[in-house]
Amino acid sequence: MPAEIYLNVAVSGLLTGLVYGLMALGLSVIFGVVRVVNFAHGEMMTIAMYLAVALFSAYKLDPLAMLVPIAAVLFALGYVLQRGLINPFINRPEHSQFMLLVAVALIMVNALLIAFGPDARGVQTSYAFASFALGPLIVDANKAYAGLAAVTVAAGLVAFFRYTLIGKAIRACADNYAGALVVGLDVKRLYALTFAIGSACVGACGSMMVLLVDVTPPLGPTYTLLAFVIVITGGLGSMAGALLGGVLIGMTEALGGLLFTPSAKSMFTFAILVVVLLFRPQGLLGKRLT
C-alpha cells in the first residue's frame, strides 16, 4: 500500500515536473542565446496564468484550448520587452541587466497585485476531479493533460531549433556571436525572436500551470527562482537538461512534501541545487563551464 502512494506521488511529481521543465526551457533558451538573465521569467508566467484565469472566468474558455493564444500574447510581450528595454543593455555589465529585469519583475508582480488583488485565483475545469486509473496508479486528469501539453510544446520547440532555418540561425548566434555577425545574421532581430520564443514558452506553461495551482501575484518570484534552480541543475544551454531538471525537481518536491511537510518541499529543491553546484557546476547535462 505505501509503495503505491509513493508511486502515485512520484508520477504526479513527474507530470508537474514536465511543466516546470518547459518553464525552465524558456529561461534556458533566453539565457543560452541572448546571455541575459531573465529575472522576470516567473512573473511573465503569472501574467499568462492570470490571462488564462480571466479568459476562463469570463468566457469559460478552457486554459489548454487557450494555450496558443496566450503563448502568442506572451510572444509579443517578450519581443517588445527585448526590443524596447533589454536590447540597449546587451553589452552592459551583468548586474546592470539583472537590475533592469528585477525592476520589470517588480512592476509586473505589483501591477498584477493592483489589478487582481492578493487572493488566489484558479480555474475549475470540467475534468478537474477526473482521474485515470492504470492498474494501481491513479493519475489526476489535470496533471496528465498538463504534462502531455508540456511534452508536446517542448518537442515542438526542439524540432524548431533543430530543423528550421530560423532555429538554426538562433543556435548559431548562441554558439558564436561574432561568427553569426560575419555570416550576415540579423542578430538583434534573432535575439528579440529568441526572447519572444522563451516568453511564449512560459506563456504556454502558464496556461498549463493554472490547472495545477491557484495563482497569486507573489507566485512570480517563486517560479523565477524555481526556473533558475532547474536550469542550473539541468545544465545551462541544454534543452534536455532543462526538462530533466524540471522532472527531477518536480519529483523531489512531490516526494519531499509527502515524506516531510508540504510547506518544506522547496528546501529539498535548494538542497539539490547546492549539491549540483558543488559537484557538477555545469549542471547534469551541461557542457563544461569555461
Binding site: V37, L85, P88, F89, N91, R92, P93, E94, H95, S96, F98, M99, L100, V102, A103, V104, A105, L106, I107, V109, N110, A111, L113, I114, P118, P217, P221, L225, F228, V229, I232, T261, S263, A264, S266, M267, F270, A271, L273, V274, L277, L278, P281, L289
Partner: protein
C-alpha cells in the same frame, strides 16, 4: 589614524560631511516622532546598503540574499534575549559570528568551485530561501507564527538592553551608519580594498598579479555578512517581532540593494544617498496616497520598480557620481569610472 583617514578626501567633501553629521545629530531636536521613524529607516537602509556594497561594489560579487544575514542576526540576538535573557550587546557577537560562518560557507561553496556572476547570485538567493523555509518550521524560534520580544517601555531608555524610544534607536543607528562609513573608507584604502577593486575589474588580471582572489573574496563575504547581521540585531530590537516570511524574503534582499544601486554601486556615499532618496520618495508617495485616500497594496513597489528602471536606464552608475561631480567633489576612489558609451 585620523590623518590617514582624511587623506585625499577633498576639503569640500569633509566640510559637507561634518555639516551632514551635525544636522543628523541635531535632527531629533526638530523632528517629530514620524520623521524620526523615517530617519531610522533611512539610516537602516544606508547601513545595510553599505554592508552589501562591500561585496558587490568593492569586490564585485553580486549577492541577492543579504536578507539571510539580516534574518540570522535578528534571530540570533532575539532568541538569546527571549530564551536566555542575554542582552543585545552580547548577542550581537553571536549574531555576527553565525552570519560570518554562514557567509563563509556560501563563499567557500561558490568561490572554491568558480561559481560566479549569476550563479553566485542564485546560490545566495537559494540559501536565503532555504533559511526562510527552515525558520518557518523551527518551533523553538516561533516558526511561521513569529518570534516576539517583550514590548519596550518607551518612557525609559535602556541602552544596555536596547529597550527604549525611537530617538535612542535613531542615535544607535546613526552611530552604526557613521561607523560603517568610516570603516568602508578605511577598507577601500587598505591592501584588501585594492585587491577587491582589482578583482572587481578583472579577476584574471588580479590573479595573474598574484592576488589570492579566493581569500580576498572570502574576506569580503565574511565582513559583509557580519556587518549586515548587526543591522538585523537592531531590526529585531527595534521592531520587536520577527517573521521568517518577512525577514528572509527575497523582496527584503532586493529592497536592501536598491539603495546602493540607485545611489551608486561601489561608491562610499552612494548607499547613503540611495537610502535617503528611496526612503523619502517612498514615504512621500505613501503620504500622497493617504492624502488622496487611495489604498492600493503594491503601488509603492510599482513606484520602486519605475525608480529602479529609470536609474538603471539613464544613470547606470547611480545618482552619486554625477551628483558628486556637481557638488565639486570629483571622483572618489571606489568609483567605477566607466565613461559614457564605454561597454
Amino acid at each position: 589614524m585620523i590623518p590617514l583617514l582624511t587623506d585625499g578626501v577633498p576639503r569640500r567633501g569633509l566640510k559637507l560631511l561634518v555639516a551632514l553629521a551635525l544636522a543628523l545629530l541635531a535632527a531629533p531636536l526638530a523632528a517629530n516622532d514620524y520623521l524620526i521613524t523615517v530617519l531610522i529607516l533611512v539610516l537602516y537602509f544606508a547601513y545595510v546598503g553599505q554592508a552589501w556594497n562591500i561585496m558587490m561594489g568593492f569586490a564585485g560579487q553580486l549577492s541577492l540574499g543579504h536578507a539571510l544575514y539580516v534574518g540570522l542576526g535578528a534571530y540570533a540576538a532575539a532568541a538569546l534575549y527571549v530564551h536566555f535573557g542575554v542582552g543585545p550587546w552580547l548577542g550581537l557577537w553571536v549574531a555576527m559570528a553565525s552570519s560570518a560562518a554562514v557567509g563563509a560557507t556560501i563563499g567557500f561553496l561558490a568561490f572554491r568551485f568558480g561559481v560566479g556572476g549569476v550563479y553566485f547570485a542564485i546560490l545566495t538567493i537559494a540559501f536565503a530561501e532555504f533559511a526562510r523555509i527552515g525558520f518557518d518550521h523551527w518551533g523553538w524560534l516561533g516558526g511561521s507564527a513569529g518570534l516576539f520580544l517583550p514590548v519596550a517601555n518607551y518612557a525609559h531608555n535602556d541602552i544596555l538592553t536596547l529597550r527604549g524610544s525611537p530617538t535612542m534607536f535613531y542615535y544607535v543607528m546613526l552611530t552604526m551608519t557613521a561607523a560603517a562609513f568610516v570603516f568602508c573608507h578605511a577598507l577601500l584604502r587598505s591592501r584588501i580594498g585594492y585587491y577587491w577593486l582589482a578583482i572587481r575589474e578583472s579577476p584574471d588580471a588580479a590573479q595573474a598579479l598574484g592576488i589570492d582572489i579566493f581569500r580576498a573574496k572570502m574576506v569580503a563575504v565574511i565582513i559583509s555578512a557580519a556587518m549586515t547581521s548587526l543591522g538585523g540585531v537592531l531590526f529585531a530590537f527595534y521592531y520587536n517581532n520577527l517573521f521568517p516570511e518577512q525577514i528572509f524574503h527575497i523582496s527584503r534582499s532586493i529592497e536592501l540593494i536598491l539603495g546602493p544601486i540607485i545611489g551608486g554601486i561601489g561608491t562610499l556615499v552612494g548607499p547613503i544617498v540611495g537610502a535617503f532618496l528611496l526612503t523619502t520618495l517612498a514615504e512621500t508617495l505613501s503620504e500622497i496616497m493617504r492624502w488622496v485616500g487611495i489604498d492600493l497594496p503594491g503601488i509603492k513597489q510599482v513606484f520602486y520598480g519605475f525608480c529602479l528602471l529609470g536609474v538603471v536606464m539613464f544613470l547606470p552608475d547611480g545618482v552619486w557620481p554625477p551628483l558628486g561631480r556637481w557638488l565639486g567633489l570629483g571622483r572618489e576612489e571606489g568609483d567605477r569610472g566607466r565613461g559614457e558609451g564605454e561597454r
